[in-house]
Amino acid sequence: MPWGLSGPEFLQLYWIGLALAVLVAIVVRVRVRAGHSSQPVRSLDMDELAYLAGGPRRVVETSIARLLTAGELRTSRRGTVQVTSTTNSLNKVDRAVITDSQRYTNRTVNLMVPAVSKDGAVTEIGRRLEEMGLVVHPDVAKSALRKGSIALWVLLAVGVVRLVNGLAIGAPVGYLALLLLLTGAVIFILTRRGKNLRTRKGNVVLSEARTSSSSRMATSDDALYAGAAGLVLFGGLAVYPDLAVRSSLLASSGSGSSYSGYSGDGGSYSSCSSSSSSCSSGSSCGGGGGCGGGCGGGGG
């Protein structure tokens, strides 16, 4: 009887320890999501909402969609984007996208999106959202989740020592080995995180914006989140309503689904809104790969 405990006694204690450690890790995880800011949430602009919906990449994608619609950016069948001589936008993210595409002659969105994602104009938006308590900085989330899983790691270490000792004295260790594997799996699951993390408040704000944007688009001419950029904001470039433009943009970037978004607990939303006035030709909507379930019917 190593450590004065029989095998079944040790397993019983281990189970209790595991339950407690999992509880701690879950509490920490929930607290990370809860956010600490008590600031009231003001209404977000398009870039902020895009960041909330899909992180830095989505901000850039939304800006690309906005510039394409405004005629400040053009794509060709070669899959490259280039600025037109008509660049008026004063938006900082738009300027960053324009500067990026002016720097290269054959720029694909595949390369542009990650590059501009790191631009100050985009990271600044992330900071603002953190201050409002809508997203958690990846580093903050990472360290919190790490701390939350300390108890699990300690438990695992004790179990491993017991296992080694058990093997040394020829005691049966089958159940213990299974339990250790289970502990490892739990650690993996509970410390796993999305690249970007929305707080609960962030989830609420996003789903409200999503609801109001689809109702607004159907009823009025409020242009805040409307148009192609409004769709891309929630669904990424894979739902850009113009089929030919979308195919040329995504042709160079492998599959459209490579645009990973935020991990929120709301599950996946339908990425296409009910209707949009942004389609330049009726036939350009719907169908086509990449788009999750096809986009809403063309406006005209």
């Binding site: 405004a70 005629g71 400040e72 053009r74 794509t75 060709s76 069948r77 070669r78 280039q82 037109t84 001589s85 008509t86 030919a244 433009v245 040329s248 330049s280 030709s281």
Partner: protein, 272 residues
């Protein structure tokens, strides 16, 4: 030879603006730079335009018909094959030379307007025509300087070229304007002297005044003065076609569409 079919208003197709050209309202025909196309794999966009029944006319820049060397038949053959591939009613190049003594100038150099130079040009044009499946139209270029001892005006030179080779004329009104600005020629006199019944179509392009010199850049907006020359031309003859050339620094779709609309307005005003 019968007259050229009515082409309407068109735009130079370039791969950078392929989607734009496909979607622009009021594009009746397009022109492709023959040297940029390869037999056997036409760009998807060009194929799509052909399927829609849009005429595609190959425009060459490298035959160097005004050069002292005999015309390179490989280049003529390529031009002819492109014409067949797109089912073009005609092809075109410039009254110029681009290489001499084995060197490529990279520019469309004006030909000295002498009887001797005309003989050389005529010989080259005839050779090219014999090896082309469709009629050849030749375009006036913009010159920043004039060769000394010119015996003919540009209009007379082209008129004689047409008479001796039975070629068609592709009149670039932006080049006429550029020559008027830079070397003081008279566009109206040019239009008086050329055989307008041999007009295939017209080029319109943008440019930029740079100090004392007007540059035919194809990268800036079309000046009202250039449309003025087009108007002058349209007052004499209804051009079978008018085509906008834009090669760089492309503006938005909307702006390109409005340039096409402005061209159409000039043509329609005289027609109606």
């Amino acid at each position: 030879m019968a007259g050229i079919t009515d082409l309407g208003v068109g735009i130079g197709w370039r791969s950078e603006i392929d989607l734009t050209v496909e979607r622009l309202p009021g594009v009746d025909f397009v022109e492709v730079v023959a040297e940029n196309l390869h037999i056997g794999h036409l760009p998807e966009s060009v194929t799509l335009l052909l399927e829609r029944g849009i005429p595609v006319l190959p425009h060459a820049v490298s035959l160097s018909l005004g050069g002292a060397d005999p015309v390179d038949l490989n280049r003529v053959e390529h031009l002819g094959k492109i014409a067949e591939a797109v089912g073009a009613p005609m092809v075109s190049d410039h009254v110029c030379f681009v290489r001499a003594g084995g060197l490529d100038s990279g520019h469309l150099m004006p030909v000295p307007r002498t009887k001797d130079a005309l003989d050389v040009l005529v010989a080259n044009v005839r050779l090219a025509q014999q090896n082309l499946p469709v009629p050849l139209a030749l375009e006036n270029v913009a010159a920043l300087l004039e060769w000394p001892d010119g015996e003919l005006t540009e209009g007379q030179f082209l008129a004689e070229l047409v008479e001796r080779t039975d070629c068609w004329l592709l009149v670039d009104v932006a080049n006429l304007y550029a020559n008027a600005r830079n070397i003081g020629t008279d566009p109206e006199r040019f239009l008086d002297e050329i055989p307008l019944e041999r007009l295939a179509y017209v080029h319109v392009a943008g440019g930029e005044q740079h100090g004392d010199v007007y540059h035919d850049t194809h990268a800036h907006a079309v000046l009202p003065e250039v449309l003025g020359v087009l108007d002058e031309l349209c007052s004499r003859v209804t051009p079978p076609g008018v085509l906008l050339e834009r090669d760089d620094n492309y503006p938005s779709d909307t702006e390109i569409a409005s340039e096409l609309a402005a061209i159409r307005a000039v043509v329609d005003k005289r027609r109606g």
